[in-house]
Symmetry: C2
Subunit: 227 residues, 2 copies
């Protein structure tokens, strides 16, 4: 069975990717990161979420991002911005941006893939995010793949690695629709950047607004709890 490393965040996107990759028959090695993010509850969600997916291994890597403490996702003193609707966010890169985050995540995935002999790395990046996060764009991911194939002993010895973002051209509504078809249980996912300590979503951050809109577009009710 072919092995796949999947970056799983506990969010809607990567959870959908997990279901897609499972469908394709890969043996799954899931990789999550504990970077003392304010929305750490997502790690608990992913542990619940993956249970029915026969995941071979789930590694939670402790990530020391204390040098990058300007992001609202990490810092205690930077607030996650709240909006009335998703369109208010605009095209600016928000304070929730974490410097080089996907590059660090994918670098770990690359090392882990080499370690276990996997040629496929999956990430939940997509165009809806790309306007706001440079490390969610196609050209970035293609460039990372090129670099990755020069970086490792495995690649030098001919075992190439693919970085695949199956959601890349999909809107959030498309993603929810695809997940529904695969029977994804979204009650064990969370998207909020600023959840309460007991895991309720705020309903007002960019991530919440985009998520709610996606369920509405699919005429579905988001099964998670909002404050």
């Amino acid at each position: 069975m072919k092995k796949a490393v999947i970056l799983v965040s506990g969010g809607l996107d990567s959870s959908t990717v997990l279901a897609m990759v499972r469908e394709q028959g890969f043996e799954i090695y899931a990789l999550s990161f504990n970077y003392a993010q304010n929305h750490l509850v997502e790690i608990e969600k992913i542990k619940q979420f993956i249970k029915p997916y026969n995941v071979k291994k789930h590694k939670v890597i402790n990530l020391d991002l204390s040098a990058f403490n300007s992001s609202a996702l990490i810092a205690d003193d930077v607030d996650v911005p709240k909006y009335e609707n998703a369109a208010d966010v605009g095209d600016n890169i928000p304070v929730t941006y974490v410097p080089a985050r996907n590059t660090i995540f994918l670098s770990y995935a690359l090392g882990y893939a080499e370690m276990i002999g996997a040629n496929d790395i999956f990430i939940g990046a997509h165009v809806t995010d790309a306007a706001n996060y440079p490390d969610c764009r196609v050209e970035y991911l293609e460039s990372f793949e090129k670099m990755a194939n020069l970086a490792t002993k495995a690649a030098v010895e001919g075992s190439k690695v693919s970085i695949t973002a199956p959601l890349i051209q999909m809107s959030k509504s498309d993603i929810v629709a695809a997940g529904m078809k695969l029977g994804v249980d979204y009650s064990n996912t969370i998207s909020c950047y600023d959840p309460t300590s007991d895991g309720k979503s705020c309903g007002k951050c960019h991530a919440c607004l985009v998520r709610l809109q996606a369920f509405e577009n699919n005429k579905q009710t988001d099964p998670i709890i909002y404050v």
Copy 2:
């Protein structure tokens, strides 16, 4: 003053790079990694080494590489190989290889550079190592730089980053010669993959043999202590 992020390991190479970059007048932000390597004494060495260099900040990042435990640099049950002389190593990638290590190191450096507004990242990679480590080659470093300039908010907004390996074409002997000219105090560096707990070098691993040969070629005595 232009800012530079320098990856410093406590070894001979990156210590020489620090002296070179200081000479060029950069404001220096040094970045080291504690990845529970068996040769962790190098972190203590670098703290001593940097003292005279007016380093603006020195960050030691805790790196969780437990998922990659096959390397002799990390694992307790894989021995660092010992040789009679450096030529015995050959061109194979040795068990001291750590999957994606420089990619992870450079990814952190990229995030840190963005955080502090630096456009220059320096790394001590060079051709002597390139035969054995894929992530020390010119084509790898160039590819990483391309990826880096698609990865960050800073780059997207026009503030490009350079990955510079000033030693890249130099032999170990050339590096020692260059460091000597700059007054580098090599007594506060260590290269050994398998030092004793009190910081003595083994003299028999690849890193030690290459280092000793470099001092000998320069008709110098290596000032560190060997068992």
